[in-house]
Amino acid sequence: MKLLSSFRSFDSISSPISGGFAKFEEKKKQQTDRKSKSFRYVFRKSPTPSPSKSPELSARHNTSLNDVTSSTPAPSSPSTPSFRPKGDAEFEQLRYEFNAFLQNFSIQIRKDVTFKVKSCEAELKKQSDEGVRIDDVTDFLQDFYTNFKKKVDFLPFYQSMSQEDKESLMNFIEKYLTISLYKELFSPISTASEDEIKDLTLQNRIRQLNWINCQHLDIILNEREKQVRDLIYGAINSIIEMDSVKAPQDKLQCITQCSNNILRALSKSKDAPASADDFLPALIYIVIKANPTRLQSNINYINRCSNANRLMSGEAGYFFTNLCCAVTFIQNNLNAESLNMPEKEFQDYVSGRAVPLGSWEMHFSESLHALQEMTNAVDELEHRSQEFLKNAEHLKQKMKHKQ
């Protein structure tokens, strides 16, 4: 156990870029590890017994959940149990914030939220332990989101909360459940090997397409400009980072950040607001250059576990839809025909027999960057020396006048 936790903490600090293989390793480890990690860990915090459980709540409830729910922790005491592996620091942090947030509201709200969310957590855990299909498990999760939202919107004792607080509450609930049950919900054992194959297939496909540049997709990106290049790097980092965060909204945030960087780079290059005609090809380009880890699994996870309302509307939903489009295009439609090039040429590039002109390396190789920087420095020096000479001349003239 000790060994495993030290492995895990190593993984969590390793960069997401180099973490491609490590992630798979980690997943495998988690799978072997999970049996030894009791689910009750998640709840055990303080031994405070539940102050007063309202009878109708417990009566309605499945008895098998009682041992879990009876140890409702006091929402205000986020004491960190020493036995938790270090990898759960994120979860501890969230629980602390969640409890602090709940402090602002009545005891009735606090009790209701903690009880219901924990019951849901237990049920989800139970279902995945019993090998229920992941789609059914997450249907249950989605139903919970929907029903809880309805409750918060209509039950009288929740009406002391502002609209904003209600949204935060729903966000906390989603984060809590998905981070707590990440292992069960993200590429669960039942589909793990299948997911792994899909992820690797996509990754290989993208690797074969790595030669694609802006011209192939008719993208207007001024990669010569440093600002644009930095935004492209930013976009690539954000999309890669997606795999290292757990909550669906955090993953969506990475996608949004990536997209905003792309849109900024596009509008800088074009000097006009970027439309979808500009954005989608650029996103495809970024996905190809980034080749993010476990991309398919991450998309499946967001589709299943993110509050469906979020994906339906709002900016994050739009960007996520575009990411799905980009991946579908890469998988099914990116071919010689859609790139308007002869089949043979396409195959030559894919097989690595040939490399197209004007490739990525033209703008993104480190030595070329260094060269560019040095050229800039020389230009700057030249400019300054001219300034200096001009000033010297000026001074000379002045001295002449004085004489």
């Binding site: 929907t146 979808a276 439609n333």
Partner: protein, 225 residues
Amino acid sequence: MGTNSVASSSRAFNFKVVLLGEGGTGKTSLVLRFVEDKFNERHITTLQASFLQKKINVGGRRIQLAIWDTAGQERFHALGPIYYRDANGAILVYDITDKDSFQKVKNWVKELKKMLGNDICLSIAGNKTDIDRQRTVTPEEAEHYAALVGATNFFTSAKNNVNIEELFLDLSERMVAASEGEDPQPSTGSRRNVVVVDQENRISELNQRSWGLDSTIERKPELLF
């Protein structure tokens, strides 16, 4: 549904509207004119026109429109269904001086009809009436086609700000009507040709999604509080 109608008087509507049109038809200018009321690119503050939101008021109802631009290039045609899934409305833009762009609109309409049936409200915008002299798509042809497929037809000019507001307001009215389950046949007259066949299923589905009144409440008693 009972709870719904009680809530509907005060509720805000959230609608997803997809924007379809070839590059060069002016669909970006059209949506920017509506959202920012600007045409000249130098005055536009937003960095992007791919996803825009606007709050409007129609007949005392608060409506939040989320306008989803879609990539119009032919190579992305197959991705359409991913974009317009769950959309309440679609605006199809063509250039009145470009017959091909009108043909593309027809292709999209066919596809939308096939995938979503009458669940989606359609508006067709013939843009660039400011260069009417070069028109190649006749008004009769456009209107006839729109009537045939149950879409509303508008001739717009993003440049001169003609009919843009009207286009969005009309679409919003029809989306409200569709989601409230009223007969969306407009009271104002013959301008619109709306064909709506049995929207009952869509309505209950919509309400479930936006209001969380899921039928699963009955199915899963352990979550009934």
